[in-house]
């Protein structure tokens, strides 16, 4: 079997990917039986690894496309699923946002406007 490439897989439809996944898993099953019965030979035994990795690739592509589509779906919405929100760290997520930090009372705003920090120069 030719090597399955992720770039090829990304173009496919989800149904095709599912079907491919099933085929690969069936193949893996057959190979494992062959391993136990001792029928295969070195070629078949080494094929197990490549099939396993191909299955992984299909699953990766499936998952990535699903996630991407979901992100598009929830883009701009107020409530997103938690795994689509920025992960960062727990502490950072609980900090004040930039906007919340920049809030000033009317009093301080007026003070800042009325009495800004002046810069002077001394003439030599």
């Amino acid at each position: 079997m030719t090597r399955i490439k992720c770039t090829d897989l990304r173009g496919k439809k989800p149904d095709d990917l599912q079907k491919q996944l099933e085929d690969l898993r069936q193949e893996l099953n057959v190979l494992r039986v062959g391993k136990v019965t001792g029928s295969g030979g070195a070629a078949k035994l080494s094929k197990i690894r490549s099939v396993r990795k191909s299955i992984a690739r299909v699953l990766i592509v499936t998952h990535q496309t699903t996630k991407e589509n979901l992100r598009k779906l929830y883009h701009g919405k107020k409530f997103k699923p938690k795994d689509l929100r920025p992960k960062k760290t727990r502490a950072i997520r609980r900090l004040l946002t930039r906007k919340e930090k920049s809030i000033r009372s009317a009093k301080t705003k007026r003070k800042q406007w009325a009495f800004p920090r002046r810069v002077y120069g001394v003439k030599a």
């Binding site: 099953n29 136990v36 929830y74 409530f79 699923p81 689509l84």
Partner: protein
């Protein structure tokens, strides 16, 4: 009673409209209530006439007050009709000394967003359940003599799951399944097939000979 009064009061239109509304509300109810309404309606009407004679502005103030009063009396009359003339509610008779919390409304969840965007995929699907069949001498004996197949199975699988997996993968019905956990930590499943299946044929089909 109401139509007689109406043409007389058409000068003060707002008051009359409210009064007629009140009396009409009364007439929809029982006769006793309507009588009480009409009685209450009479008192503001009598009050209006002296008010009308005094002055232009004062009449307006008077009429709005009377209007509200008439409206509330009409509303009260309506309420009395629906609930009876008693102002107290009927008290429930309690037969036990304990107070149990009454059944309250329990709403179903309507989440604003799913917590997980993608639901978890089932990692114990039929491919993962059956790892591979056994081809040892004793396993071969089982195939021939007892019409059973022997599989190494995922340790987290239980008998009904194994049965379903075997059916899905190999198209065979299992009569019964016995499982054991081997000393090396793997689960072995003896799958006895139903009488209409032949284990030898199935074994050939799978690839264990």
């Amino acid at each position: 009673m109401a139509p007689k009064k109406e043409p007389a009061k058409k000068k003060e239109t707002t008051a009359t409209a409210s009064v007629s509304a009140a009396t009409s509300a009364g007439t929809t109810a029982t006769t006793t209530a309507s009588a009480s309404v009409s009685k209450k309606a009479k008192t503001p009407t009598t009050g209006q006439k002296p008010g009308a004679t005094t002055g232009g502005d004062t009449t307006k103030v008077v009429t709005t007050q009377k209007k509200e009063k008439v409206k509330t009396t009409a509303l009260k009359a309506k309420q009395r009709v629906t609930r009876g003339n008693k102002l107290t509610r009927k008290r429930k008779i309690r037969t036990t000394p304990t107070f149990r919390r009454p059944f309250t409304l329990r709403l179903q969840r309507t989440p604003k967003y799913p917590r997980r965007s993608v639901p978890k995929r089932n990692r114990l699907d039929h491919f993962a359940i059956i790892k591979h069949p056994l081809t040892t001498e004793s396993a071969m004996k089982k195939i021939e003599d007892n019409n059973t197949l022997v599989f190494i199975v995922n340790i987290r699988a239980n008998k009904p799951l194994i049965k379903a997996a075997v059916k899905k993968m190999y198209d065979v019905d299992a009569e019964k399944i016995n499982t054991l956990i081997r000393p090396d930590g793997e689960k072995k499943a003896y799958v006895r097939l139903k009488a209409d299946h032949d284990a030898l044929d199935v074994a050939n089909r799978i690839g264990i000979i």
